[in-house]
């Protein structure tokens, strides 16, 4: 699993960072950034799916 944030859609709700703080952080404006580069480890995939499900802008994109 890989994950990215669609910068055009993200409005900085930070719901992804609340669901998966190991994977998402924020830039200087408070918009989401992926801080865990590369393949998402098995033990975090459920949290990343939750981040995708909870983003009010549907800006979290999972690639498998």
């Amino acid at each position: 699993m890989h994950v990215l944030v669609d910068k055009e859609s993200c409005q900085g709700h930070q719901m992804c960072a609340i669901a998966a703080p190991e994977v998402f952080g924020s830039d200087v404006l408070g918009n989401a950034v992926v801080i865990l580069v590369g393949e998402i480890p098995q033990h975090l995939t459920a949290k990343v799916r939750l981040a995708e499900a909870n983003c009010p802008e549907r800006a979290v994109v999972i690639e498998e």
Partner: protein, 403 residues
């Protein structure tokens, strides 16, 4: 609060956002509208408005910001003369801004409210919460709204702005004058707006004569866009926003959450015993007790979900109703502190996502954690004695608890 003499006969065509029964508990009304053939209600009261109640509709309107503009974000129209005179141009950017200016209006303030930036207020907020509790804990009774919640966000906002914390009570009274009592009393609303503007005009003048280093007003005065200093009306507008958006919103969320916990011993226990529950619990309390309803103004005649909306019509963005939509949330009216799937829009959606959301979350968490550490067990003195404000911002204004 002034109430209209005419009773509501049909909630679908004649709702009243200030009806005491609706303010006390809007859940039933939202459900009735949401599950009817027309989930967007209409009223001619208070200047007239539309009220969408389904999650999908509220979010769609929030995203169609070209049709549904932010040039009027208060749930009732402004008092006469509010936008005339030398300071008539002062609004509350970026919440009142539309593209293209919205972009720079927002970019200039977002860094102040990033998760990293607001984290520095955590310890001082905790210390202040403890000081507030010190004042009433020995009495065995306290007002969770008036003695506690009400004082927390205004303290943080004053600190950020670099103004005296002694102004807190006056700020609170001005904000209530604009957003609470003022909504049904245009003269009070206008007078309160002018008090806010006059105060900040003085603050700007003082900083220009006596430059300071680290406060938000100074940073705003010195900020530039495309090589040019921003104008005073923008700075005044942001100061205005800090008060009207940053005070009774979060105070309402803290108060509603304490009102909830006062009646839920099991939830108190879960939060005391399980630190890992806090992140989902905060989002769940924000969802169920979302305090804020914003407005939008229709820019041109349009039809939305079969509703004929005219230029200048007001649409109430009922984020609180959207957050109770069963199409989006299982058992939406139930507080489930461990709820994992929670795509709530308590802070709005789209380009106007609440700029202070990270600060609000921090204040809410610190306020509740500190309360539960000091006052682990408490209950409402009298459930019928609790008073609520509603309309733009819903939350308890008096909430006596004993412990």
């Amino acid at each position: 609060m002034t109430t209209t003499p005419k009773p509501v006969t049909d909630i679908h065509t004649d709702y009243d956002i200030f009806d005491p029964a609706f303010v006390l508990d809007p859940t039933e009304a939202w459900t009735e509208i949401r599950e009817s053939k027309c989930p967007i209600a209409r009223t001619e009261r208070w200047g007239g408005s539309w009220m969408p109640t389904r999650y999908e509709d509220v979010v769609a309107i929030a995203h169609e910001h070209e049709t549904f503009t932010s040039r009027g974000i208060i749930v009732v129209p402004p008092p006469p003369g509010a936008f005339e005179g030398p300071y008539g141009g002062v609004t509350a950017p970026p919440i009142t801004s539309d593209p293209p200016d919205h972009l720079w209006h927002r970019r200039l303030i977002l860094p102040t409210f990033s998760p990293q930036s607001v984290a520095k207020y955590e310890q001082s907020t905790r210390d202040f919460c403890n000081e507030l509790i010190d004042k009433f804990i020995d009495k065995g009774v306290g007002d969770a709204a008036g003695d506690y919640a009400q004082h927390i966000p205004v303290r943080v906002i004053s600190t950020m702005l670099g103004v005296s914390v002694d102004m807190a009570d006056e700020f609170t009274s001005w904000v209530r004058g604009v957003l609470e009592q003022g909504l049904t009393d245009p003269e009070l609303r206008m007078a309160s707006r002018m008090k806010i503007l006059q105060f900040f005009i003085g603050q700007l003048e003082d900083r220009k004569r006596n430059p300071r280093e680290h406060d938000l007003i100074t940073e705003l005065i010195n900020s530039e866009v495309d090589g040019k200093k921003v104008d005073d009306n923008y700075v005044l507008g942001v100061c205005n926003l800090m008060l009207v958006a940053g005070i009774d919103t979060t105070w309402s969320a803290i108060g509603s959450s304490l009102w909830h916990l006062a009646q839920q011993p099991e939830h108190r226990r879960q939060l005391r015993e399980n630190d890992e529950l806090w992140p989902t619990a905060i989002e769940e309390l924000l969802r169920v007790y979302s305090p804020v309803t914003m407005a939008r103004i229709v820019d041109y005649d349009t039809e939305f979900q079969g509703c004929p909306m005219k230029t200048g019509d007001r649409v109430l963005m009922s984020f609180p109703a959207a957050n109770r939509d069963p199409r989006m949330f299982e058992n939406p009216d139930e507080v489930i502190l461990g709820r994992e799937h929670n795509r709530h829009v308590a802070f709005g959606s789209g380009i106007h996502r609440c700029a202070g959301s990270n600060l609000a979350r921090l204040e809410l968490r610190i306020a509740l954690q500190t309360w539960l550490e000091r006052i682990p067990e408490f209950e409402l003195v009298d459930p019928t004695d609790v008073t609520w404000a509603g309309g733009q911002v819903r939350g308890p204004r008096r909430c006596l608890v004993s412990f």
